[in-house]
């Protein structure tokens, strides 16, 4: 072992001097090199949440439906009928920036194993992606690689990728975001936990062999490993989806056999984190021998085996008398299932290499002893400028320009159809996809029940950038409305907090504010946070990304036959807005319109009216249950006009046009209203619905009951989208063909440049 007192190897490993001192003090001695490596990975921001834990504690995590909250591998929610849904979102940003295909592919692999670790069968994937400007060649390379990586891995697993997001903006150019959500289904009694329970139980590694991949380069010290390890060092892992598919089937079979006491995926920090976390959860210790871990290449030392991030492996804690059964199932699926140690009562993680003790650390210190930081928070300078957007700063467009603006918005890669992405994903495998990607939230049936599960991911980073608390609340609200416009009730969320460096006070302020806004929205909408992931240090050359707290939401439809979708259904149906459309300059803050038509990212987004959002959700779910609505769509990117255009795009044959007048929304009554604000404003707590004329009274009665304003703005008719002002002047008419063409070809065109 190298003498660690000579130099400061912990610094190369990413530990601060103060953290090293803390380790020494708590351990009562100097850690050896292997131990130091184990601390370095487990005390990294990624594993220890050093900068975010104090904030995360403020999020609401409880609710009558929450079976398992944050702390386990994934949250679990009761969906009735003795069924439960495990779901979680996770980032793979940095690996994807280096090698987009493998980075995205192994991102899928990782989140799928998290869901598997809860005892659930992984059945649904969503991908939430952020890239730089589409005309940048680097973006095209990253975009192409990420999408085919998700397709390559997810399709092979046979888990449908049923939804997601793609958003392009300059701040993501050097640092794309790749967040993936996985959900799984199980019966209540199948729930498993990641705990190393039962002294004497056997520790097993199942799945792939362990190689040198993923051991972070900077943690190597050449004097320890020798010259030739230099060439062997690879920081990108290559995914093997075939192996993962076998791993899923094998682990589900092992769990069903009753052999598995505890189970944990091996993700970041591989064996070190899975051993430390399982033992810490159970309050036990583990003694393992790395010589017994199946290895891909010979001659790996304890340090390498403990830190390897080889993919497609799970750690199992198995009843001593069931080891043979686990081995038999492993062999059936052609997988390693190796006994590597035992659960002990020592409270320590003891690592042997062919019998020789290489490391011994208290698991509580390793898994829970990392310091927590509450850095300085300072309101960012840029807000002074961006907040200061006045009415007169936005040139009001001529009526004659509106059509062109609408078509440009529809063709904007942030709004245009994402079909070029999702047609590469097998979104139908498993035969449960009732509403796949393309229209809004995904609607999945649950075989054997009448139920539907509804999933969406949402976050508009531009809004969060301009007002972190409001933007994060909007992410929750938009997700909830996306779910509700299918007729489903939002149940719970998972989130992935993508931010820059928390050591920058302005970024920490963004993080703090965003968490506050998210927590507040979740409390009012009664959608607790069941888990998630934090990804910090997303920046290149001091250019931080837009703060992007992505919300993944789960909703439930009691009767899937009663679902609704955004497409207009019948000519003659009444079109109305539920909620409030502000229509003023402020509602244009951070809008796609402001960026596309005026080249501005500015304004101070209002906070969503959460009580109103709650009311709208009640109206939508109740109305859908009673079958009153023909269609429903929330208002988000692109505002009211784009929402209407989307209702046309998804409309039934013969019901693709509409004529509306926003008069009923207060146009002409309020001084501050402007046409572009009315048509393109995004920060509105509102949804567009259509319903047969004879149901108006009923709809209005439901709205009254929930205190939700209902404004009739027009009807389904013709084959174009037509808008009139209060004066009756037709200010815009666009044929549905033009709408379709802009919307369908926008993404491909912008990527081709």
């Amino acid at each position: 072992m190298a003498d660690t007192s000579q130099k400061a190897p912990w610094r190369e490993m990413g530990l601060k001097d103060s953290e090293y001192e803390l380790i020494k003090e708590r351990l009562g001695r100097e850690p050896n090199y292997t131990e130091l490596g184990m601390f370095a990975v487990l005390w990294s921001e990624h594993c220890a949440y050093k900068h975010s834990k104090p904030l995360l504690k403020t999020l609401p995590t409880e609710g009558p439906r929450v079976l398992v909250g944050p702390g386990e591998n994934a949250g679990v929610v009761d969906i009735g009928d003795n069924l439960a849904c495990a779901f979680k979102i996770e980032s793979h940003n940095h690996p994807s920036a280096v090698e987009p295909y493998q980075g995205a592919a192994t991102g899928i692999g990782g989140i799928v194993r998290d869901i598997l670790a809860m005892g659930a069968r992984p059945v649904i994937l969503l991908d939430s992606l952020r890239f730089g400007p589409p005309d940048d060649p680097r973006t095209r390379f990253l975009f192409g690689g990420v999408v085919s990586g998700i397709a390559g891995y997810g399709n092979c697993l046979g888990i449908p990728t049923v939804g997601g997001e793609v958003f392009f903006a300059r701040p993501y150019a050097g640092n794309p975001l790749v967040n993936v959500l996985c959900a799984g289904l199980m019966k209540h009694e199948d729930l498993h936990r990641g705990g190393a329970y039962g002294v004497g139980n056997v520790v097993m590694v199942v799945g792939h062999s362990t190689g040198r991949d993923g051991i972070h380069g900077c943690t190597f010290a050449s004097d320890v490993l020798g010259e030739d390890s230099e060439s062997k060092r690879v920081n990108v892992q290559v995914g093997d989806p075939f192996m993962e598919k076998l791993l899923i089937e094998a682990c589900l079979e092992m769990m069903a056999s009753g052999a598995v006491v505890g189970i944990q995926d091996m993700g970041a920090a591989g064996l070190t984190s899975s051993c430390a976390e399982t033992a810490a959860r159970a309050g036990t210790g583990l003694a393992i021998d790395v010589g017994k871990v199946p290895q891909r290449e010979g001659g790996m030392n304890a340090y390498e085996v403990m830190l390897s991030e080889s993919q497609e492996r799970m750690l199992l804690i198995v009843s001593a008398d069931k080891v043979e059964e686990v081995k038999r199932i492993g062999a059936k699926w052609g997988l390693h299932a190796a006994e590597i140690g035992r659960v002990t009562d020592s409270g320590n993680l003891e690592v042997f290499h062919n019998g020789k003790l290489e490391a011994s650390i208290p698991v509580s210190l390793l898994a829970m002893g990392a310091p927590e930081y509450t850095p300085e928070a300072r309101e960012p300078e840029y807000l002074k400028k961006t907040r200061n957007l006045r009415d007169e700063d936005i040139r009001a467009p001529e009526f004659g320009e509106l059509k062109d603006i609408l078509l440009r918005l529809l063709a904007s890669p942030n709004i245009a159809s994402k079909e070029p992405v999702y047609r590469q994903y097998d979104y139908m495998v498993r035969t449960d996809t009732v509403e796949g990607p393309g229209k809004g939230a995904a609607v999945m049936r649950v075989k054997g029940t009448k139920k539907g599960l509804v999933f969406t991911t949402d976050c508009n980073g531009r809004l969060v950038y301009l007002n972190p608390a409001a933007g994060a609340a909007w992410a929750v609200t938009e997700a909830a409305l996306n779910v509700a416009v299918t007729g489903a009730r939002p149940l719970a969320i998972t989130n992935c907090l993508n931010f820059g460096s928390p050591e920058n006070p302005e970024i920490y302020w963004q993080l703090k504010e965003a968490v506050r806004g998210m927590g507040e929205a979740c409390r009012v909408l009664e959608t607790p946070v069941t888990g998630g992931n934090v990804s910090l240090y997303n920046e290149t050359d001091d250019q931080a990304i837009y703060p992007t707290p992505i919300v993944g939401m789960l909703g439930v439809l009691d009767d899937i036959e009663k679902r609704i979708d955004p497409g207009f259904k019948r000519p003659g149906d009444i079109i109305a807005v539920l909620g409030k459309v502000w229509g003023d300059a402020r509602s244009l803050a951070g809008s796609e319109y402001l960026e596309i038509a005026h080249g501005m990212v500015a304004g101070d987004p209002r906070e969503p009216d959460l009580d109103l959002a709650r009311g709208i959700i009640d109206v939508l779910t109740e109305g859908a249950g009673e079958g009153v609505f023909s269609s429903a769509q929330d208002i988000s990117e692109g505002g009211l006009l784009v929402a209407l255009a989307e209702c046309c795009v998804h409309g039934a044959e013969g019901a693709r046009g509409c004529a509306v007048s926003p008069k009923a929304l207060g146009c002409g009554e309020r001084e501050d209203i402007r046409v572009d604000g009315m048509l393109f404003g995004e920060c509105n707590t509102a949804a567009v619905v259509s319903f047969p004329a004879d149901l108006e009274e009923k709809v209005s009665e439901i709205c009254k009951r929930h205190n939700v304003p209902l404004s009739v703005i027009g009807s389904v008719q013709g084959s174009s989208l037509a808008v009139e002002t209060c004066g009756g002047l037709r200010i815009l008419e666009v044929s549905v063909e033009e709408i379709l063409s802009a919307y369908k070809t926008g993404l491909e065109k912008s990527l081709k440049g």
Partner: protein, 89 residues
């Protein structure tokens, strides 16, 4: 002059090659017990115009670096030969 360049692209040695492993397994199941290891790479054959073998090699090298191989996970090699009319591959 016309050249036939071949760029062979491989996953770096330390990276596990799932394809190779699966093929090895099948070969073993088919009775080819003699097989110790299998790795699968790409072979990209490019016919091109260049002034000299060295120029051709430089061009191919640059194509490999920029497009044909991903330096993070792959390594490559470039071979050049003069293309004879009607030559057999």
């Amino acid at each position: 002059m016309k050249f036939k360049g071949t760029v062979t692209v491989w996953l770096k040695e330390s990276i596990f090659d799932p394809q190779g492993a699966a093929v090895k397994g099948s070969l073993a199941a088919m009775g080819f017990k003699e097989v110790e290891n299998v790795r699968i790479g790409k072979n990209i054959v490019i016919t091109l115009e260049a002034e000299s073998p060295e120029a051709a090699k430089d061009l191919l090298d640059s194509m490999a670096r920029k497009l044909l191989a991903n330096p993070v996970t792959e390594s490559y090699r470039v071979y050049v030969e003069e293309e004879k009319a009607g030559a057999q591959r």
